[in-house]
Subunit: 227 residues, 2 copies
């Protein structure tokens, strides 16, 4: 098969199914080990993300030890208490009822980092948008997330943690930027809808309200407008 050719209807449907059924998993991690070959496939998908100037600025720290997870969970707990205190009382109560991480439940943690100096001072495509290396690293996270979904492996992104604590616990040097701490493990279920939608925290926006034509706020034009 020529990988560079068109996709069949079935292949296209599989890609959309993956995109639509991917979830942020926090409460459904099974204790089953993720086999080495499965984890490698998921990381390889991340490694094949687009990157500015092909700089591939990412690294992956794989966390499996209970002791490391316990330290990360404690850092989450401190941050989460601070976070809850920032909401109005009703919202804070709802916040505290949500399960927002699976650090200790998930068999594997993956910290994705960005080495901003990897390709030297001048990077093709980054001269006018210096954060393109960070964006490339986030593209790697999304590839990882989708590949994991296709493997039946759930992923939860833990952002309620101070980056300094991630650095401390994982020994990340000052010049490296931690982008994401991800919890990975086989999931007993993938929710039909995002949990924050299901639990009434927020609602899905109408896509039409997010579209504009030709300029910010511009009204819809036809598909062949001025082409």
């Amino acid at each position: 098969m020529d990988a560079s050719g068109p996709f069949s209807d079935e292949e296209r449907a599989a890609v959309y199914r993956c995109i639509y059924s991917r979830r942020d998993v926090r409460g459904e991690f099974l204790p089953d080990a993720v086999p080495e070959d499965v984890l490698q496939r998921i990381l390889r998908a991340a490694h094949h993300a687009p990157s500015v100037g092909f700089m591939q600025p990412w690294d992956f720290i794989i966390v499996q030890s209970r002791a490391t997870k316990a330290r990360l969970h404690e850092a989450f707990r401190v941050a989460n208490d601070e976070a809850a205190a920032q909401f109005e009382p009703d919202r804070a109560a709802a916040y505290r009822r949500l399960k927002l991480e699976g650090i200790r439940d998930a068999p594997v943690g993956v910290c994705v980092t960005c080495d901003r100096n990897r390709a030297g001072a001048v990077v093709l495509g980054r001269t006018h948008q210096p954060d393109m290396d960070i964006y490339s690293t986030v593209c790697a996270v999304q590839n990882l997330w989708l590949a994991a979904r296709a493997e039946g492996v759930g992923v939860g992104w833990v952002s309620i943690i101070r980056p300094e604590d991630l650095r401390d616990v994982l020994g990340i040097p000052r010049e490296i930027v931690p982008i994401a701490y991800l919890c990975l493990g086989y999931a007993s279920a993938f929710h039909e809808k995002p949990e924050l939608e299901k639990r009434g925290w927020a609602t899905r926006a109408d896509l039409d309200q997010r579209l504009a034509w030709e300029r910010w706020g511009g009204a819809r034009t036809g598909p062949d407008h001025d082409v």
Copy 2:
């Protein structure tokens, strides 16, 4: 079919094929219009990206007019001249031989932006990592890119352009952050490898060199390490 269940081997293979055959397209755009329903499917995939606190901070400006594309191309040209001047002479010559954008060739442009205030001052999951809204928007870009690949539509991310010029041309308000300007169109071909790799600009890193265990630089542990 229950979308939340496991993927078949064929479905999983389709997802990996999409991830591995996605390319940054600059020189292979066909003039054929991208039908409205195809563009909608691609944008809907972007809209179903993960977002911090389910804030869905993105908006999409769809560009079809030749006049708008011409202005954006001029902004690219100015930035690209400045960029070329930053490289050492040999590298600069190689840089100038690369085709780095398809702004006028691609029938559709999509500018993806981030509204940092969309969900108010306190956002679940963003209290300790304020850039999570930007990262969410980049996840939407990657979803868009993969969905487009499955549709046979090429995407090129134009980052050699000043964000202020994107704002000017597209009327983007000061409080909104332009994240990506993407060129979209059916592609005559998807290169087997990234163009920058094919043309010798940079090489693919060895994934093994990007992995560490338990901490930055940590040596490999077994799959059941301390679990």
